[in-house]
């Protein structure tokens, strides 16, 4: 057995890693390749959260004294930053949620549920994360609607041609992920949205794996709903967002009822307040929103095109190295383009064993079904090993994984 391959054209010195204290200072030996699960935070995000609590903290939309006003202004500024970050026409179109998951559930329960009828269809795809599958499965079964699935082709891309009836009348919504968290492929969101638009069918795009890794503009995509998450783009956990075209948001009901969302309440009735506040019942997550916006600002400063180029280069080198190993099966095959995420299987080594051996060697990768059981079932797999790259990764991280692979082969294979 040869020693581990070294990756070609290595990105040897990563200038961004120093911004991430956990990776640079606390765990300098750690090779963190699990960025699709969650990303680490730059100091500027951590500082923004600390500042939120130590300088601008107060109630939002609820107080008339200066500190409350400052807190409200900071929260709304965060909304503006994020709306701008994804190219929304107005900050009204950006709703803060707890997560991408909550954003999707909000659309399922608040928008789809009231208008879905028996015999209607919702189309999802074979590669959806459970977060973007289960809410639709449930709503369809509650309403007697049909959940239809766009299947995969051999190359791991979606087979839109075979999705019969996709743009026909009974379809009330098309739901798809922009980037697959398992296969790493990017879907032709813009083309799908354009056709759906002509047919008058709204589209929801799950952007959790795209935002923060590449430039994203929801107006260019022309989707109706777009969901993403703070913690996957170097921001805090506990905060995500839903973008919706204003006319869609006007059709949508809140998921939660409570403080801050109404104009008037009497014993029997209430009238909803304005958009977006009506969708954010309860005291908002101020520090989360501020940290989320700080992450967007951090990325804007570097430039998303730069982020994309750097990570793509490393990813291509990693893909090349892995595809040279005869015992490794890439999912999908090596010729399919992907960006930050690479899934693979090593002959004779269970993905969990691999992830554990790698973990002990200081390399963090993910193993399992990645919350995509419908996809795994179709591929006939129980799970894969997955490496997913971030802004702070460099050639040493990929080399460490290649070494860990060798170790696993010696130990288990």
């Amino acid at each position: 057995m040869g020693s581990a391959l070294k990756i070609k054209r290595p990105l040897t010195h990563n200038i961004y890693k120093k911004d991430f204290p956990l990776l640079h200072d606390t765990h300098p030996q750690l090779h963190y390749l699990d960025n699709a699960a969650t990303t680490h935070k730059p100091q500027s995000v951590i500082d923004a959260i600390v500042d939120a609590y130590s300088q601008t903290y107060g109630p939002i939309h609820r107080g008339l004294y200066p500190l409350a006003e400052a807190a409200t202004a900071a929260y709304e500024e965060a909304r503006e930053t994020l709306a701008h970050f994804i190219g929304a026409a107005s900050s009204k179109e950006l709703i803060f949620t707890r997560s991408a998951t909550e954003a999707i559930n909000l659309v399922a329960q608040g928008w789809a549920r009231p208008r879905l009828r028996e015999g209607d269809c919702i189309w999802v795809t074979r590669m959806e994360h459970h977060s973007n599958f289960l809410p639709w499965q449930r709503i369809c079964s509650q309403k007697g609607a049909d959940l239809k699935i766009v299947e995969l082709k051999e190359d791991g891309m979606l087979d839109w041609e075979s999705a019969e009836g996709l743009f026909d009348r009974p379809t009330r919504l098309i739901v798809l992920t922009q980037v697959s968290n398992v296969l790493g492929v990017e879907n032709p969101v813009r083309a799908i949205c354009a056709k759906a638009q002509q047919a008058g069918i709204p589209v929801l795009v799950d952007g959790a794996q795209a935002v923060g890794h590449q430039p994203v503009n929801v107006r260019e995509l022309d989707c109706d709903f777009f969901t993403f998450s703070g913690h996957k783009m170097y921001g805090p956990t506990g905060i995500g967002a839903l973008y919706g075209k204003i006319e869609r948001l006007e059709e949508m009901e809140p998921l939660l009822l409570g403080g801050g969302i109404v104009d008037q309440v009497d014993d029997r009735h209430f009238t909803l307040g304005s958009i977006p506040e009506r969708f954010e019942a309860g005291s908002p997550n101020l520090a989360g929103a501020i940290g989320f916006a700080a992450a967007a600002n951090y990325l804007l400063e570097i430039g998303l095109a730069q982020v994309h180029t750097q990570v793509s280069q490393l990813s291509r080198a990693a893909l090349d190295a892995l595809s040279q190993c005869p015992d490794i099966r890439l999912l999908p095959g090596r010729n399919t383009q992907r960006h930050t995420i690479i899934s693979f299987i090593v002959d004779g080594i269970h993905p969990h064993d691999l992830a554990q051996i790698a973990g002990e060697a200081g390399v963090a990768i993910r193993a399992g079904h990645h919350c995509c059981q419908p996809l795994m079932n179709t591929l006939g797999l129980n799970g894969t090993a997955r490496l997913s790259l971030g802004l702070y990764n460099d050639a040493a991280d990929v080399d460490a994984l290649l070494l860990a692979l060798d170790q696993a082969r010696r130990l288990i294979g």
């Binding site: 969990h352 399992g368 059981q373 795994m376 129980n382």
Partner: protein
């Protein structure tokens, strides 16, 4: 070599050369354990007469820990009585179940090496898969032994 490393080597040996792995044809009863989260699956067959488990065999697929645990279990139980197997199963559930995982005495020496897995809580389920299959098999065996 640390005890921990020694234990790991024992596990690896069981994984590479599993004991009593194979065909379950002719087993008196078969029980099944599966983990839908990772797709691992173990079937345990009891080759018994009366209360005696002459041989415990298994087949299935799984990670190294899953296979090693099943192999070790089969060794520990072959030639024991049904009652002894049930007692050991209780011990294992206490040791690797949802509780605090405190080690319970007496752990049979044949299973001692499994303590290497205790530091990986995420993988306790892998150890327990074969024991779940065993519980199902023992239950089935009880049914066959019940006087009509």
């Amino acid at each position: 070599m640390t005890t921990h490393q020694l234990y790991k080597d024992v596990l690896l040996d069981h994984y590479r050369h599993p004991r009593n792995k194979g065909n379950l044809d002719g087993a008196r009863v078969v029980g099944r354990g599966s983990n839908p989260r990772c797709g691992d699956e173990i079937e345990v067959g009891l080759f018994s007469h009366g209360n005696m488990l002459d041989r415990v065999q298994f087949r299935g697929r799984g990670c190294s820990i899953c296979i090693a645990a099943a192999s070790m279990m089969s060794e520990a139980l072959s030639g024991r009585s049904k009652t002894e197997a049930a007692q050991l199963s209780v011990v294992m559930h206490r040791w690797f179940g949802n509780g605090n995982g405190a080690k319970v005495e007496p752990t049979p020496p044949a299973l001692e090496a499994l303590s290497a897995v205790r530091e990986y809580p995420a993988r306790r389920k892998c150890v327990m898969l074969c024991w779940e299959a065993l519980s199902e098999a023992l239950f089935a065996l009880d049914q066959t032994l019940r006087p009509l």
